[in-house]
């Protein structure tokens, strides 16, 4: 029998039992759609986080006290502003060094208040990290040197306190102390469920007085180019270790952060895909089951086809094609459904979703393979059916 003919016969058989074919396909449809959507969400999240880490700025080196690894609690810093001066001297350019001391505080304006992260910083922050302002200006060096009570608000904070009104020029109270708003950051969005716009930048000198401390939590350095990062990192850590005997310091680069996050999210995506794959497997078992029923039901037809000259192989191919057609058709519909669902998720929820060609190819390939694997047994059974017995069946 010609191959095209076998396809036609398989399509006719599926059409004859439209409801059953659809229900059988449903298992595959759901499985493939689940694979596509979950992989899209996993990939989308990974891409979003990578973009955000990259968005911090390139050639970034972050120096922190203690041994840095994901999951370890941050240790209490012993660094202060004199360490920042020492690091600036090594780097050779104060504009390439940023610092932070952070604390969670209540920020109020009139009778409205909100809770936000207060970052004590120096005026170089926008040059080291990539940050842009929606309104007003950023802190100046004289703001830092003279401990001015001025603040730049994150988008969320500005929105919470002032709504649609312009925050620049307004007064806010941080931990009971009044500050004048001089700028508002452009919106950054969320990262791993954390609102990155819920922060306020104030001069670090002002922050030290406000918080009653002189510590520096971390120092960030923007290296002039990629090649200098390792050398710079080693020299800075050596200098800090010399200044603080007994304290460990470590430096992480953007690449390292990206690498670790990428690994974690890759595993996460894999696990999601595997779970969805199980449902695809269950769909395959359903296909196998229905094909066995179909072989039994069409025993007479098989007998007749054999009587008029069908070889065992012709019958086997016919049933195998039916199973493969069921799963690949289900695979196509599931892919469409999965793409649609991923687009809806990306559009209507904060969860990002990115459709990748490999997840589509994988889902489609697996569904076709499922058809072959789960169609083989029913097809063999049909092919081996004794024509005498088959014709006798009424």
């Amino acid at each position: 029998m010609r191959f095209a003919e076998a396809w036609r016969v398989a399509i006719d058989a599926l059409r004859a039992n439209r409801l059953r074919s659809t229900l059988t396909m449903l298992g595959v449809i759901i499985g493939v759609a689940a694979v596509v959507v979950l992989v899209a969400i996993g990939t989308g999240t990974k891409q979003q986080i990578e973009r955000q880490v990259e968005g911090l700025g390139s050639n970034l080196l972050i120096v922190l006290p203690g041994q840095v690894s994901l999951g370890s609690a941050p240790s209490v810093s012993r660094m202060d502003l004199s360490d920042v001066d020492a690091v600036s001297k090594i780097v050779g350019d104060r504009n390439r060094v940023a610092v932070t001391v952070a604390s969670g505080e209540t920020v109020a304006a009139g009778n409205v208040d909100t809770f936000a992260t207060i970052n004590g910083v120096i005026e170089t922050t926008p040059q080291v990290f990539v940050r842009s302002l929606a309104r007003g200006t950023y802190l100046s060096r004289s703001d830092v040197d003279t401990q001015r009570r001025v603040a730049v608000l994150g988008w969320t904070v500005a929105r919470a306190l002032f709504g649609d009104r312009d925050a620049v020029g307004q007064q806010v109270t941080i931990a009971g102390v009044r500050f004048r708003v001089i700028g508002v950051f452009a919106k950054l969005g969320q990262s791993l469920g954390v609102d990155r716009d819920n922060e306020v930048h104030v001069p670090i000198t002002t922050a030290h007085r406000l918080l009653g401390t002189n510590r520096v939590d971390g120092i960030a350095i923007k290296a002039p180019n990629r090649d200098e990062i390792d050398d710079l990192s080693a020299r800075i850590i050596a200098e800090l270790a010399r200044r603080h005997p007994g304290t460990e310091f470590s430096a992480v680069t953007q690449e390292q952060i990206l690498g670790v996050l990428g690994d974690i999210l890759g595993v996460l995506t894999g696990v999601l895909a595997a779970i969805a794959g199980i449902s695809l497997l269950v769909g395959g078992v359903g296909v196998s089951n229905i094909m066995l029923v179909s072989v039994r039901e069409r025993t007479k037809e098989i007998g007749l086809r054999k009587a008029v000259g069908a070889r065992p192989r012709d019958i086997g191919v016919q049933f195998l094609l039916e199973a493969v057609l069921l799963t690949t058709l289900g695979g196509f519909i599931g892919m469409g459904l999965g793409i649609g669902a991923a687009l809806v998720v990306a559009a209507l929820s904060p969860v990002p979703a990115a459709i990748t060609w490999w997840s589509l190819a994988l889902a489609f390939g697996v569904s076709a393979a499922v058809g072959i694997v789960f169609g083989v047994v029913p097809a063999q059974r049909a092919g081996r059916l004794d024509p005498v017995v088959a014709l006798r069946t009424e």
Partner: protein, 244 residues
Amino acid sequence: MSGSGVDAAFVVQDVTREYALDGVTVPALRGVSFTVDAGDYVAIIGPSGSGKSTLMHLLGGLDRPTAGSLRIGGRDVAGLDPQALARLRNETIGFVFQSFHLLARTSAVDNVALPLVYRGMRASERRRRAVAMLERVGLGHRLDHRPNQLSGGEQQRVAIARALVTDPQVLLADEPTGNLDTRNGQAVLALLETLNAEQGVALVIVTHDNEVADRAHRKIVMRDGVIVSTDVPPASPTADEGVS
């Protein structure tokens, strides 16, 4: 017939067929011998359980004998695997069944063309042959009707057209009139006999109806797995030569 160089339709020599049922061997045929010449018209008659259905399955190449020799159209079935048997059925034998065995949801012309599908023939050529054969059995006006839109007599005529479309050497009819009323049964028999006479296709009818069997040129009467009476010459070299 052998004188004209055409192989006999069937040469059956001492054929036995046993079935294993729950570990017990049940003989359905116990040493059957006869010959059906090309173009012959033979009826096989006997009550149910006489072994005539088993014999028909063997003649149709659907089954192989346990012992003895069976030649269909000059080919010994003993050496044939399932693929080769399928090809033999396709090329040599046309089946007509009591219950028609037409594919539902499939037009008359596609039912008739079915055996040609397994020859790998092009769709246009299949259709041309199937239409010609349906016209030959008087159903040229029913080409695209489905079995459930046809009467019993018409369905059996579609089945006959399907049996003949491959231009077989033998038509093997198993109770072809069993599911038809007298008038339609007579018409179907007349059609089969016309085809036998005009196309030279050998006709073997398996039946339990004496009236049907009496119309054949020869009659093989079976009982309990053996032939109890026949006017068909036994299969032997001398008998083979004797006919011509």
